[in-house]
Amino acid sequence: MTSVWVVIAVLALATAGLKLAGPLAFGGRPMNPKALNVVELLASALLAALVVVETFGKGRSLVLDARVLGAAFAAVAVWRRAPMIVVVLGAAAVTAIVRLLS
């Protein structure tokens, strides 16, 4: 149980440190254009990686399971401009139904 509290304390401090490092070191200063160019693209790259890992990842392996159909529903819903809540809850519902039927 002690180790659980150690994990919580260290993760809280580390997360704050990661969030604050940039703003405290470089706040308000314009970034050089080359760096800004990269930064502008970071969200696309990291979000796409998160989609892949959360759709296919299971620990260190890649698997095809019911999440794929949930994610597919989300992709179609987003494309059809459905509200966020429909996108996420619909994806969960599709995944749950597929698991129920399989």
Binding site: S44, V51, R60, S61, I85
Partner: protein, 231 residues
């Protein structure tokens, strides 16, 4: 709040309006985050007991890190391994914070106050698309998410013992759905699509070979590569 002059010259509106607009934008995220954190509370309770998951959500406030660390602990991993997983999963905040930094003016304390509520959805939503960010909007989008995250954990811890398997409810599919929605709004234009494709490819290739969290961090390389393309 408007005494803080960050964003006062914001061409998109005065801070309190931007803040409220952010909160409205954040509401659906807040509901989604609530659902996700219910599942965190449910999953964490057997290992952590009823109080620790709530404390963790209050002070860590990060789905990726909390689920990542929990997964390691549930698999019998050490505290050190759980911490490493959580830190790696949150390493992206370093990049996001660096990206946000030029948009934050004012003293260190005020910059810190704008950076602490930083989470994925707020960061993406506050991006103006030209490399700058709307700080008040970012904080606004985070408000419902923080409330949803902490409340959801409380609910999860309370109902967990009665609920059964959260995956049976498809709760694990909330994550990809959430990121797909964010990605759709973010990845407009040739270079961003290239960055997204590259990031997805890197994550796909690396996942079987490196510890969880690293593939997401490594995807940043795709942004560097795509930045060399012509706009």
């Amino acid at each position: 709040m408007t005494g803080l002059r960050v964003g006062a010259s914001d061409p998109l509106g005065v801070p309190s309006e931007r803040h409220r607009a952010g909160i409205r934008r954040g509401l659906p995220f807040g509901i989604a985050v609530f659902a996700i954190s219910v599942s965190f509370g449910v999953l964490a309770r057997p290992l952590m007991g009823p109080v620790a998951p709530i404390v963790m959500s209050i002070f860590v406030f990060s789905g990726a890190a909390q689920f990542g660390a929990l997964a390691v602990l549930l698999a019998g991993g050490s505290a050190g391994a759980a911490i490493a997983a959580g830190v790696l999963l949150n390493a992206r905040y370093l990049a996001m914070g660096l990206a946000l930094a030029p948009s934050l003016r004012g003293r260190a304390l005020s910059r810190a106050a704008f950076a602490m509520p930083l989470v994925d959805a707020s960061w993406a939503a506050a991006s103006r698309g030209d490399g700058t960010f709307d700080p008040w909007y970012l904080v606004g989008v985070s408000v419902p998410q923080y409330a949803g995250w902490v409340l959801g954990t409380v609910v999860g811890v309370l109902i967990g013992p009665r609920l059964g398997d959260p995956n049976a409810l498809g709760l694990d599919a909330l994550f990809p759905a959430f990121f797909i929605a964010l990605l759709y709004e973010e990845a407009r234009g040739r270079r961003r699509l290239a960055a997204a494709g590259g990031g997805a490819g890197i994550a796909l290739v690396l996942t079987p070979f490196v510890p969880a969290g690293l593939p997401i961090l490594a995807a940043a390389a795709a942004a560097i590569a795509a930045s060399r393309m012509r706009a």
